[in-house]
């Protein structure tokens, strides 16, 4: 086993251990519910980070994939009485198909044009959720989605659901860590830096871009299914343009091109508004202020920013040691 691999499995292992401790120490359903939402958001953001942070392709329509996952699961289990796990697989298949159909033409675009195309796609899907009343329940939403179960055990307690969501999320993190350190990951970063240079060195850029787009759509679809089965009710307003923007914010705040950054970003943006409710009417102002401060002083995101501060501290200590000697 080489050193990198051992280091990585150590990271994932200790992260998993830390997560396993949470339900032993925390019994309050509220905190566990918050943790479930952090898990779902992390799953989404890890996927989006592969696309945005590593391959450098912006998507302003990611809420659509999240919604497709949620609605496919929701519709199949309520209207057509399919059991939840096959429905989840069907949701992934449908989402990947849509991602390929949209990705093949759209990923030929770059920069602002790609942002516009994905934005348009997100809005179209949102309109479909709202207007296909016979299928989606329209703006009033879809009620009565069953909770997930393994065999005869129903995962209807936040604690059980916490375990499920974080097993899925940890698996996604481990997979992503492997992707970014593989040949594919290096190719993705090459595309980020210069598409022409990457192409010149023999990377099939268009195929790889579509591939990573589809992978991030799969993550979003699974997150959507998990979300639908957890809150058992979905309506179009949870999958609108603002949610796509929120996901992009999570990626940027956490730190582009950093898997652990995605975890930080999702956790910060989920927990912060909850903590700030103690400030009543000023919570939104404070929220905005904190985001501004983070972006001004840590433009690389929280993870990079924290590491920079640590490096600076170490550098200064070493220098002072040298001076004193």
């Amino acid at each position: 086993m080489n050193r990198v691999l051992r280091y990585k499995s150590f990271q994932v292992g200790s992260f998993g251990l830390l997560l396993a401790l949470v339900p032993l120490l925390v019994t309050n359903r509220y905190y566990l519910t918050v943790m479930v939402f952090i898990g779902i958001h992390t799953l989404l953001v890890v996927g989006l980070n592969l696309l945005m942070g590593y391959a450098g392709q912006i998507s302003l329509g990611h809420a659509a994939f999240f919604g497709l996952g949620a609605y496919t699961s929701g519709i199949l289990t309520t209207t057509y009485h399919v059991s939840p796990w096959p429905a989840m697989v069907a949701a992934v298949v449908l989402t990947v198909t849509v991602a390929l159909l949209v990705g093949i033409p759209a990923l030929k675009l770059t920069g602002y044009y790609l942002a516009m195309a994905t934005l348009g796609f997100g809005i179209i899907i949102h309109i479909c959720f709202k207007e296909l009343v016979w299928l989606t329940g329209g703006p009033s939403g879809l009620v009565g989605i069953p909770t997930l179960g393994i065999g005869k055990i129903m995962l209807d307690e936040p604690k059980a659901y916490y375990c499920l969501v974080w097993v899925a999320t940890t698996a996604a993190i481990a997979l992503s860590l492997n992707i970014v350190d593989s040949r594919v990951g290096r190719a993705l970063r090459a595309i980020h830096d210069s598409e022409s240079a990457a192409g010149a060195s023999g990377i099939s850029t268009s195929r790889l871009k579509i591939w990573v787009f589809a992978v991030s759509a799969v993550y979003a679809s699974v997150a959507g299914s998990l979300y639908a089965h957890f809150i058992t009710f979905i309506s179009p307003s949870s999958f609108d343009f603002m949610f796509s923007v929120k996901l992009v914010t999570m990626v940027v705040v956490g730190g582009m091109a950093s898997i652990w950054g995605a975890v930080f970003g999702a956790a910060t943006l989920t927990v912060l508004p909850e903590v700030l409710t103690t400030f009543h009417d000023y919570d939104i102002v404070l929220f905005g202020l904190i985001l501004m401060v983070v972006m001004i002083f840590m433009p690389q995101g929280l993870t990079r920013g924290a590491l920079d501060i640590w490096d600076k501290y170490r550098f200064q200590r070493q220098r002072s040691l040298l001076v004193n000697r």
Binding site: N28, Y30, V133, P139, V143, I231, T232, F233
Partner: protein, 389 residues
């Protein structure tokens, strides 16, 4: 044998402690009792803030009034209110927080139908009474054990309009609804109830919440020559419909929903508002109600108190939360701090005269309103409401 100094001090300490214990036991009776903790979740910010803000204000106003009078059986009311921003995820988090962390006795809200339906499974499982401020019929049909609601439903509004239209001798109708939860729920009811009154729906058109021109839909409707047009929406769409009808010279009678029963609609539609007939909660027409109306005193008090405190015009929406807390206060008076008993007492309540109507709850009816009391039909004339008797 003399008692040394340390043991003397010890004896005195014990005596003092005993006295303090006895005294504190006596004094405890005069201390205020533990407050009743009540939760509120409203869409205070975001697209539905027009609902959430007056709801929060009304609830705070009423809690203040109750506490000034010495609370409920000596227990003050302690409100914990959170903002959902109209978002289902936030609503779920807020409801869980109220139940698990703040340990409230009951919850008033959420403001919207979607957010209410999202928190219903949570309160049902945790067994906490919920008094929703949202309109959808789905909230209380089928009846859910722990869920009640205070606003009138679309079922009643549609029935009220249809009853009036039938008396006018109308046979065919065209419906024009907005593409949001309010319009969607109204559309379902308009289609479902039409056969009961012998109406034929000849056109079923929709418009977007932000559309600024409805002439295509209206031109299509005109060619079908219906006896009346029923428009179901919230501002500003319905005002555009009224204006477009004037511009196109369509002389078919126009009926609107209670979604536009505010001065804002008359402002937006201007001259075109005159002649429109719609159902509305009594609050919009309080000053035009006869003194014999059983709700008039309640309404007058609510309006004057609200406008005095917040210095802004009252809307029917705040009344939903006002009614919710009033009902809860009456239940608390009999039940004390026991969630199951509070629920039972709410279900037994049969004579509460509120802002939105006279509530008569029963195990089969967790809304408790009837269309006769909850709505009046009004006609807009010279920019003001005229009650149709």
């Amino acid at each position: 044998m003399s008692i040394n100094r340390t043991s003397l001090i010890q004896i005195w300490t014990v005596l003092y402690l005993a006295a303090a214990l006895v005294l504190s036991g006596c004094a405890k009776k005069e201390e205020p009792k533990v407050p009743f903790k009540i939760g509120g979740i409203f869409a205070i910010t975001g697209p539905a803030s027009f609902l959430g803000e007056p709801e929060r204000n009304s609830m705070e106003l009423l809690a203040e009034q109750i506490n000034e009078k010495g609370g409920i059986n000596g227990h003050a009311i302690d409100l914990v209110i959170y903002d959902t921003e109209g978002d289902a995820t936030k609503a779920v988090l807020n409801a869980t927080k109220l139940i698990e962390k703040d340990n409230v006795l009951a919850i008033v809200g959420p403001s919207r139908s979607g957010t209410t339906l999202a928190v219903v499974p949570i309160v049902e499982k945790a067994q906490v009474p919920l008094l929703s401020c949202a309109a959808s019929v789905k909230i209380t049909t089928p009846v859910k054990k722990w869920v009640f609601k205070t606003p009138q439903t679309d079922v009643m509004a549609v029935a009220k309009i249809y009853e009036y239209m039938k008396a006018q001798g109308i046979k065919t109708i065209a419906i024009l609804t907005v593409g949001n939860a309010f319009g969607d729920s109204g559309r379902q009811q308009l289609i479902q109830q039409a056969p009961d009154y012998g109406f034929q729906v000849v056109a079923d058109e929709r418009f977007g919440p932000k559309d600024t021109d409805m002439t295509p839909q209206l031109t299509k409707i005109r060619s079908l020559r219906p006896g009346a047009i029923v428009c179901w929406g919230t501002n500003p769409g319905p005002a555009v419909v009224a204006k477009n009808m004037r511009q196109l010279g369509i002389r078919i009678p126009l009926y609107q929903s209670h979604g536009v029963a505010s001065k804002k609609f008359i402002e937006l539609a201007g001259e075109a508002a005159n002649g429109i007939v719609l159902p509305t909660g009594k609050i919009s027409v309080t000053k035009n109600l006869p003194d014999s109306d059983p709700q008039k005193a309640t309404l007058m008090k609510y309006i004057t108190d609200y406008e005095a405190k917040y210095n802004s015009a009252v809307s029917g929406f705040g009344g939903y939360a006002w009614d919710g807390l009033q009902i809860l206060a009456q239940a608390l008076e009999k039940a004390g701090n026991d969630r199951a008993k509070i629920r039972d007492e709410i279900e037994k309540l049969t004579n509460y005269v509120g802002v939105s109507g006279i509530f008569r709850f029963s195990p089969q009816d967790h809304n408790g309103l009837t269309k006769e009391e909850a709505f009046v039909m009004v006609k807009i004339a010279n920019g003001d409401w005229q009650v149709i008797q």
